[in-house]
Symmetry: C2
Subunit: 349 residues, 2 copies
């Protein structure tokens, strides 16, 4: 029995957390809940959508007649600026009741004026504009905030309350738990090896190819050795860059292509609009150091496991013990490798 | 503006992870997916259910005509014994490709012969038997395995594939990521203060009462200061006990009562069978030390937020940054405190 078939654990070097891998369990019957597939055919423009061009939002603002992307402040943001009042210390024992202030800003980024499009259905040119918008918003917010989280929740299953193609940016001055963990782990690796963890990792995956889904001149798409979600991938720079503000035109174009290929492959796995949460991990901003231990990368966390309606539930054992997967990272990579780069909607009929 | 209204973060001292709290956001409108409520009236005995007494399971075994609980090995367990073959080292660089063997055992625990019952609907006596079964299985498995995870996934929303009331036990020799984190944190606290983190915490919550939902002679139910899920609670011993094998009869009875009260209150929050994942954190077994830094406790992680059909999605920002909640822990505690201890099904009609 090799590593691919017998139960084992793998460690995520970016977070220090483990995942339990049980490939033999992939054959168990599924009797549980199935997810609804939203087959609604959406219109190109929905007059009730707060994200469509020309429409008026709840706060009275109206959206411009935008051509590519449009960005506005989230009317119900989890973070607000100037929440800097002194926190009342609730308890004197600071090892048990630890609280800290948090202020910041939340924005919504519309990816396209067309209500019924998703990232894989955008042109390479339109995707280039999306990346430029990420870069622009990152660069602006990073002047004020140390931690700028760009992300997208896609699909109702991911709690996305809006079908109109969009993502978000949450920016704040503290480091989030995940960024802090990745920062510590990358720094420790750098201090030990003198090289960047993700640069070394990308190189090894590139040489091996087993888990590589796609690569072009500037980007690598890989199912990480330590992936927790069934079809989890990491999109990592091949260059020595730490954050969005460093992206040049060639890297931007190359990224637009990688996004198109990856999201198209995702949709083709089960011939459905593949739900996921994805987001970018930039090095913390404004520390005055060159952050050589860090590499800019994105994580894609898609929940589907066996079909458009059966997802992986990260529940019970996963919440109380650690993440668990059935399908091995290598099998997932081979499925994604084999998936076509022509979107199923373009080949159908 | 006090801590309860303005955005802030709180730190979980058991894991070291933070949660972002945005109480003002509780008022945003919800336009996203709603969860189906399963209104099916279930029979007391279902001849197709693999957990009902007398029925035959897929592997050919048949269940005895049990009166309280029944335990069997999971036919599709994520862990199997003797998976102790040598792992092939995939790569030489052990800082990037880290894998370890994992062997263990997975069991299913039926809580009641009646197909259509849930924990709050069991008698105090039947709940006493459930706790005794947990203790028995823990004690047996802890002789062989360091980490014995007892848990329950309740409700389809939690990936539970079986309505018949049941929980699981996954036992293995390594410490899971969560147990390792809690062990380290409790040990560090003990070395610093000479007292147990959870003993000190329980005492302070008891004195303050703000977040206490219920307490009896041996147990405290509290919405932790650092709770991430909307109605998350911790059920923690008031005594100096570290694991299930130490439970005496009085503690068992007292626990049966606390379980009855807490799960009844949960169902009464939205007048529905309240879904959750819950599970027990015992001190690691077989280390030959007395584990004085540890206290036996359970976490309840229920996903519902505003109604029987609107849950909190831990997605995008939460996966890439850190957990986020709208409702404050104090508000959740006051709702749970106010919820009746008579089950809504018993008062209806
Ligand atoms: O074993 P079950 O109940 O079929 O499976 C459920 O609980 C397990 C343990 O939390 C999870 O790994 C599965 O994803 C979930 O569907
Ligand atoms: O802001 P949205 O898209 O309405 O909300 C969604 O994404 C947020 C950020 O991941 C989550 O906190 C919410 O639970 C989710 O429903």
């Amino acid at each position: 029995m090799t590593l691919l078939e017998s139960t084992h654990r793998r460690k995520n070097p970016l977070t220090g957390r483990w995942v339990l891998v049980s490939p033999h369990r992939n054959n168990r019957p599924w009797l549980g809940a199935t997810e609804a597939v939203n087959e609604n055919v959406l219109p190109k423009h929905d007059e009730n959508c707060p994200l469509c061009p020309g429409n008026t939002r709840a706060n009275g603002d109206s959206n411009p007649d935008y051509k590519y992307t449009h960005v506005f402040r989230n009317d119900f943001g989890a973070l607000t600026p100037n929440a800097s009042e002194q926190l009342q210390s609730l308890e004197s024992d600071s090892d048990l009741f630890i609280a800290d202030e948090a202020s910041g800003e939340c924005r919504v980024i519309c990816f396209s004026p067309e209500h019924n499009k998703t990232l894989p259905e955008l042109s390479q040119n339109a995707l280039h504009e999306v990346v430029k918008t990420w870069k622009q918003n990152y660069t602006g917010l990073a002047q004020q905030y140390e931690c700028v989280q760009v992300f997208e929740n896609k699909g109702e299953i991911m709690g996305c309350s809006q079908p109109h193609p969009h993502g978000q940016v949450w920016a704040h001055s503290h480091l989030s738990t995940e960024i802090e963990a990745e920062d510590n782990q990358q720094l420790a690796y750098y201090e030990k090896h003198g090289t960047a963890l993700l640069a070394d990792y990308a190189q090894k995956e590139q040489a091996d190819q087993t888990r590589v889904v796609f690569e072009n001149e500037h980007w690598l798409v890989v199912v990480p050795f330590w992936a927790a979600w069934p079809f989890e991938t990491m999109l990592v720079t091949k260059d020595n860059i730490q954050n969005f503000s460093q992206l040049n035109d060639a890297q931007t174009d190359s990224l637009a292509q990688a996004l198109k290929v990856l999201t198209t492959k995702y949709d083709n796995v089960f011939n459905c609009s593949f739900p996921y949460s994805m987001g970018w991990h930039n090095a913390p901003a404004n520390r005055g150091s060159d952050e050589q231990h860090w590499r800019l990368h994105a994580h894609f966390y898609p929940p589907l496991l066996r079909s458009a309606t059966v997802k992986k539930h990260m529940v019970g054992y996963e919440m109380l013990g650690e993440s668990q997967r059935d399908l091995s990272a290598e099998t997932a990579a081979s499925i994604l490798k084999a998936a076509s780069t022509t979107h199923y909607k373009d080949t159908a009929g």
